[in-house]
């Protein structure tokens, strides 16, 4: 086999789904306006409304955040609560149908989706806790939002990102001794790889960090501290990480918009990173120094 073909093989193996970043992150809450306010202070703007459900799309730069307040007819684990939770992460992939098939073959757990007339059927699998992982391939020439969402009139559909903010990663709380399970899960299904312990970002160098096969998104998995109570082994995405080329400039801009960064010895505001104060009982954002914008 010639070298070029070998290289081809290696590339396919390291990014089996053709992953290319994050299309959207979805919150579920019964208080969408309160969460919307928090997102707006973070620089997001509401740009579109779902055709049939109580769902809003917020955007800044390349980041899409969906706020889902839709209560399903049969209330299950996915029914939103008053405290917002990260309900889904949508991965951009080369071919959603093929990615979905591959992931199911490797042990992904299909989630039945309920689609209304003229809506897209976005394939999804179960993620951590009650969250889902979606596969989206329409993000270049036209977007999924063109079909399912109606633009809010008079609003800039593409508001620029504040100080170069972009999706950097997500932090997942996990049970005791579960790091290896989740590392293998993300590696097997999506091609994430574990970073060595000395390679860390931001200000919270805890837990295990996985890098997406496309190199643009990180998952940080944090087990309970020794001595800390592991409450029923509850596992969930706890916050989003936002990359910025200049952390202190982003902190200044966000503070001017009313975002709190209390800081402390354990979580200082530093050129490496900063953590926003928690709003609505669960929502915080971690800023991480990252040159991309």
């Amino acid at each position: 086999m010639d070298t070029a073909l070998q290289r081809e093989g290696l590339h396919a193996a390291s990014n089996p789904l053709g992953m290319d970043g994050i299309e959207f992150i979805e919150y579920a809450t019964t208080k969408p306006q309160a969460l919307g306010q928090v997102l707006e202070t973070m620089g997001f703007h509401p740009v579109a409304r779902h055709r049939s459900r109580e769902v809003l799309l917020y955007r800044q730069g390349d980041m899409n955040v969906i706020v889902n307040a839709h209560v399903p007819e049969v209330a299950g684990a996915n029914a939103p609560g008053a405290v917002p939770s990260i309900a889904a992460i949508a991965l951009r992939v080369r071919d959603a149908a093929s990615a979905y098939r591959q992931v199911l073959e490797r042990g992904g757990w299909a989630v039945p989706t309920h689609v209304e007339v003229m809506e897209l059927n976005i394939p999804a699998i179960h993620g951590v806790g009650s969250s889902r992982i979606y596969f989206v391939d329409r993000y270049k020439e036209f977007s999924i939002y063109d079909v399912d969402f109606i633009p809010i009139p008079g609003v800039d559909p593409r508001p620029p990102a504040l100080t170069g903010l972009h999706f950097f990663g997500a932090v997942q709380y996990i049970g005791v001794d579960r790091s290896y399970d989740w590392t293998e899960f993300y590696a097997e299904l999506f091609g994430f790889s574990a970073l060595p312990d000395e390679e860390r970002f931001g200000i919270l160098p805890k837990g295990h960090v996985l890098r997406s096969p496309c190199g643009s998104f990180y998952l940080q998995m944090i087990e309970p501290e020794p001595g800390q109570l592991d409450i029923g082994g509850s596992e969930y995405f706890t916050r989003i990480g936002l990359g910025t080329p200049d952390v202190l400039a982003s902190v200044a801009a966000l503070r001017a918009r009313g975002v709190g960064f209390s800081g402390s010895a354990a979580v200082p505001v530093s050129p490496r990173g900063a953590l926003t104060d928690t709003q609505l009982g669960s929502v915080s954002f971690e800023l991480v120094l990252d040159g991309r914008s």
Binding site: R106, G107, G108, W109, G175, Y180, D181, E184, F185, G233
Partner: protein
Amino acid sequence: MSQFTGNIDDFGMDTISLAGPLPAKLQAVRAAGFTQIMLSARDLTGHTDGVDAAVQAVRDSGLRVTGFQVLRDFEGLTGQLREYKIDIAKSMLEMCAAVGSRVLLVCSSTSTHASDDLDVIARDLRRLAMLAVPHGIKVAFEALSWGRTINEFPQAWDVVCRADAPNLGIGLDSFHSFAMKTSLEELELIDPDKIFLVQLADFMWNEIRSVEERINTARHFRVFPGEGVHSEQVADMVLRLDRLGYRGDYSFEVFNDDYQQMRTNVVAERALRSAQWLGETILQRSVPLPGQMRLKAAG
């Protein structure tokens, strides 16, 4: 304070040893002094008020769930049969999670439709393990002594190693080892952290002459450890596991038609005697380790 009856915390009963509805079984096991119980899917699906009521009964019992059984004939299949078994596995995993069990027991396939390729078997077990990750469940793969391809624990350990998934390990059952006369020295090759469940049972005869007799004995004539003719081997097995560093649970997997015709508390007392023999006489669980740290009571 009740009289000290020995340290039996490592041992649990299995609902399949007892007659009657689930609440009666839970009550009998609890009353005998056990702290854990092994459940079958049928315990939940057969509850007169449905699965949710059964789950509630288990949670209200205060008993810890040792594990949940049993997914059969899962691995090595193709086409629609393979996908059908994935659906069955998902249903088992959901019930397993609902009752708070951290272990799902999977028995090696007896199906003539299944592949005997160890890598195919390993691939399917790895897929099952990944399905179980979001639920926080470990998969214990056990060699059924009449399994088609995997029928002794060293083979089960081989495919567990091939599958190489963090939440996939081995389940051991003394009955199958004794019935196949598998050397217990083979235990030395197993990583104790990958033993997710040990089931103990004995039986009353020395020789099993055919596969049919093995199946028949396994399903109808097992007895609690210490009641059969392999007491020395049972003791040897738990001591070997203990020396190896295994600190997990032991469940009494005793299928016995006679016990189905006895009062549950009488059967549970037999199980208790077995647990006391293993916990105190064999493993000496109440004897403090030399230099063991003791915490002072809060002043």
